[in-house]
């Protein structure tokens, strides 16, 4: 039979789990090892923050929290590649990316601490907030990309979704829209192997999640999500392509969720220790630390000092969060409409009355 179309899914990796380079054509940004050091420092900060957040939850000072343990290279690789004017649409655990974009750790805590003001964050005001209904953010990002295209703005919309979320129909819709309209849109699929208790293989019969992009005619690529050089390299390429009007990409970042799904979950119910142990062998810090150490730009002392700094910075954020007063009751009415309807105004008055005000 004649073949009318052929597709390859390629796999991008620079730094193997052992910290050695598997190819020597490093992307330009990585030539300056100081850039890599900065990225590593961000990864360390994010992990320090994450640890504190989990502890806050365990001690009753935070609501349910979704840890990002293990995803730091992917998140920071994505966030670091983007420009301020680009739009980021996270799911809920991409704190590393958000920190790179100016979101404050205290804002993350406010959100998971039951305070909407966490969504009115210090990151770019056009960025989307956390998105609980899985996958829906992808279509918002595609809509943003459509707006950029129509206005002729050199901006790119980047959306993240998980392996579970790659099954969500919204993800397909976003991918298809990006292809149909040639949008400056990047669908990041962060494959951490689990969607709560459902393993990657139960989500789909597709061999890779990158190939979801083929259905919409996008550039489709699989990347080692624990290798920040690959993550950043793939993002740089896809962002440039999108910014130049050549359309969207679908990138699968292969990583591993080292934590429970959230603090409300107990992963021991459904996954084995051996698998988690192997996850720790491939995680992103190990390899980057080895590489930077070998390159002579990192050492134990620098790390110890930086970790201390991370803890200090995190504590400032945690304290700021803990000191935040709860919003007054009228906050639940004041942000509902731009022009408050009369019936909402009446109920606002009633709520105030119950507060004795």
């Amino acid at each position: 039979m004649p073949t009318v179309a052929t597709f390859d899914i390629e796999y991008l990796q620079y730094l193997g789990p052992d910290g050695n380079l598997v190819r020597d054509d490093l992307p330009e940004f990585a030539a300056d090892r100081r850039v890599l050091v900065e990225l590593f420092k961000q990864m360390l900060f994010t992990r320090a923050f994450d640890t504190k957040a989990v502890n806050l939850q365990r001690t009753g000072k935070l609501g349910t929290y979704a840890s990002c343990l293990g995803h730091e290279a992917t998140h920071i690789g994505i966030g670091s590649a983007m420009q301020y004017d680009d739009v980021f649409a996270p799911s809920y655990r991409e704190y590393g990316a958000q920190f790179m974009r100016g979101v404050k750790p205290r804002e993350v805590l406010m959100y998971w601490g039951g305070d909407e003001r966490g969504n009115d964050f210090s990151g770019p005001p056009h960025d989307y907030s956390w998105c609980v209904p899985i996958g829906t953010q992808n279509l918002h990002a595609a809509g943003a990309a459509l707006a950029f295209k129509l206005r002729g703005e050199p901006r790119v919309a980047v959306a993240c979704v998980g392996d579970g979320g790659s099954s969500k129909t919204d993800t397909y819709a976003a991918i298809n829209s990006a292809g149909a309209f040639t949008l400056p849109f990047i669908q990041c699929i962060i494959n951490n192997q689990w969607a709560i208790s459902v393993p990657r293989k139960a989500q789909t019969g597709a061999k890779t999640l990158a190939q979801k992009g083929i259905a919409g005619g996008l550039e489709s690529l699989q990347v080692d999500g624990n290798d920040i050089i690959a993550v950043r390299g793939a993002m740089d390429f896809a962002l440039k392509r999108a910014r130049n009007g050549h359309g969207g990409s679908c990138i699968e970042f292969v990583t591993y969720r080292l934590s429970d799904h959230t603090t409300a979950d107990d992963a021991r119910r459904y996954r084995g220790e051996q698998e988690v142990k192997e996850g720790w062998e491939r995680e992103p810090f190990l390899r980057l630390r080895k590489f930077l150490t070998t390159e002579g730009v990192w050492n134990e002392k620098i790390e110890a000092e930086w970790k201390e700094e991370c803890n200090r910075l995190s504590d400032i954020e945690v304290n700021a969060y803990l000191e935040t007063k709860t919003q007054p009751v009228e906050a639940m009415f004041d942000f509902l409409y731009g022009d408050m309807p009369h019936d909402v105004a009446e109920q606002r008055a009633d709520a105030l009355k119950w507060e004795g005000r």
């Binding site: 918002h140 809509g143 707006a147 129509l150 819709a173 829209s177 942000f335 731009g338 019936d343």
Partner: protein, 326 residues
């Protein structure tokens, strides 16, 4: 100034707003060169270009999600659901996001969008083309729900909907798209989004309705007048938020209320009006509230559909039941 139909008024309002506000775009299935299956967007792509009037892939989730995305980035998208029955896949993005962006982000991101939905039965259309499903949205905070029933109101309310800073579900009663013509001044004047329209003054009974049923309700009022009964007719038009005060003022005068709507009775929006009467107007009422509505079943395929819809006779009968009291 020409006399135009309701659907022509929709087109005129869209054209006005496309012309005067760069951030407005129209999108949906077949809205481009085809001008929409009802011709609501006829000629707009030719005038404003395919960057302003956009055909989308065939997926309502896509349309809703892209619309929310565009709205939150400084545009004012006016999306079309081709028919009422195809709106359900949009519900998720509307309820979880359009209605919440402002709330969720404390005003940082907003969602000024309009979803236009050709609504209701009575045009002998295939399955899923005849639904009265406004109740899906009336319990959802953060939305406005509007349904015009005349060319002038269609023009003014659609302009207001597009200019409103929040999401508006704009139902268009397709049975009366071309029912009659009315002079509409193309002056860009919007109507308020929270005021009922008193279409006919009366003192014996208040008839409250919206959408296509305004036609039958006005006919019933006319028939009552012939029998010496004076019926006040109110088109609520802006369903959410509801201008209950206007209804209440009327009922204070008449003591009687018949609510007429096309949707199934149980938990249709008529229930909310009756509930507010029971709360705020109990002592004004001299007769039980009446609802004349679609039955609690699906609107049948077209051979039987007129037997499903409220009729002039049914409205008359209900009005007379209220008149037996007090």
């Amino acid at each position: 100034m020409a006399a135009i139909t309701l659907i022509e008024a929709i087109t005129m309002a869209l054209a006005w707003e496309l012309k005067h506000d760069d951030t407005v775009v129209v999108l949906g299935e077949d809205v481009g060169v085809n001008g929409g299956v009802f011709r609501a967007t006829a000629g707009l792509q030719a005038t404003f270009g395919s960057d302003r009037v956009i055909d989308t892939p065939l997926d309502e989730t896509t349309i809703a999600g892209l619309t929310v995305g565009m709205a939150s980035q400084g545009m004012k998208p006016v999306a079309e659901a081709q028919f009422d029955g195809f709106m359900y896949p949009m519900v998720d993005h509307i309820i979880c996001h359009a209605a919440r962006f402002r709330y969720r982000t404390r005003g940082r991101l907003t969602c000024p969008m309009v979803l236009r939905v050709p609504w209701g039965g009575g045009i002998r259309a295939p399955e899923h083309h005849s639904e009265a499903n406004e109740a899906i949205f009336t319990n959802v905070p953060g939305l406005r729900v509007v349904m015009p029933s005349s060319p002038q109101r269609a023009y003014g309310l659609l302009l207001a909907a597009i200019r409103d800073p929040d999401p508006v579900i704009f139902f268009e009663p397709k049975r009366i798209y071309r029912q009659y013509k009315e002079e509409v001044v193309d002056d860009g004047e919007a109507l308020p989004l929270d005021v009922c329209f008193v279409l006919r003054d009366g003192s014996d009974v208040t008839l409250v309705t919206w959408g296509s049923q305004v036609k039958e309700t006005l006919e019933a009022a006319e028939a009552l007048a012939k029998e010496g009964i004076s019926a006040e007719v109110i088109d609520i038009a802006t369903i959410k938020p509801l201008d209950f005060d206007t209804i209440h003022e009327s009922v204070k005068k008449t003591g009687r209320c018949v609510i007429v709507h096309e949707a199934a009775r149980t938990a249709g929006f008529g229930a909310e009006i009756a509930a507010q009467l029971a709360e705020k107007a109990m002592f004004d009422l001299v007769a039980p509230v009446e609802r004349v509505t679609g039955y609690d079943t699906h609107i049948p395929l077209f051979r039987l559909e007129m037997k499903y819809l409220p009729s002039v006779e049914k409205i008359l009968a209900a009005a007379k039941r209220t008149l037996a009291h007090g």
